[in-house]
Amino acid sequence: MNPVATPFFFYFLAFMAIVSAIAVITRRNPVHAALSLIVTLLSLAGFYLMLYAPFVAAVQIVLYAGGIMVLFLFVIMLVNLEQNIREYQFNKQWIVATIASLALGGLLLFVYRTGRGSFPSAFYQSYRGLEGDNTQQIGIWLYGNYMLPFEIASLLLLVAIVGAVVMAKKRI
């Protein structure tokens, strides 16, 4: 079961992801930014499918696009301020920050370029067979080897729930 036209899809998705990611940080209107971010997230889900990680892709859609982004949009609508959109969108150090970040990007590219040999050009065949029961395997991993982190994560979520409620509610 070979994915069709992989290079084409890859470049298409990469293009979508990067363009909409740029839109996220440049859009004046937070709703537009959030919608662009959803496009990025969906293209990432596409990447995950191409990488034979269907479960992560599904979680990405359900949790990120369907859950977290709805939360974002909800909050944006609650704090929708007209004057906010008209204000200047970038802070004072934006030139410095951009240059520094781009430098970091250049550094990363340099590292990738020099260390190209350490990343195999083709995928190992041994994991090819896994995609059929990917979900099951992840389940086994999660509840086997990663039991402790899993529990910690659930505790973190609980704390987050309580924290969010405490902060957002005026009087408890």
């Binding site: 940080i25 977290i68 990738y112 990343f119 395997q137 992840i138």
Partner: protein, 101 residues
């Protein structure tokens, strides 16, 4: 077109990461900063999943942990934003520099 290798994914992830960093460092709107953080987390996720093609499912499991983390972060962050907005009627980071209001 050439075959797609892990490197390609890494480059895309790096690009997303840089864009996210720029967003965090330059924007004034807290909501958009939070979204940029989500971008960064997603770039990391892409890396993790790409590597999981090479070295087994650990990467995917980690990606799931990261998504969980992102959910928690978004919930708390947005809670802070609402609490903050209620008091100061703004969502600009420049005006959040006071620790009390």
């Amino acid at each position: 077109m050439t075959e797609i290798t892990t490197m390609h994914y890494l480059v895309v992830a790096a690009a997303l990461f840089i864009i996210g960093t720029i967003g965090v460092l330059t924007r004034r709107n807290v909501v958009i900063i939070l979204m940029s953080i989500e971008l960064i987390l997603n770039a990391v996720n892409l890396n993790l999943v790409a590597f999981s093609r090479l070295w087994g499912l650990h990467g995917q499991v980690f990606a799931i942990f990261v998504i969980t983390d992102a959910a928690a972060e978004a919930a708390v962050g947005l809670g802070i934003i609402i609490a903050f907005f209620r008091n100061k009627e703004t969502v600009n980071v420049d005006e959040v520099d006071l620790l009390k209001w």
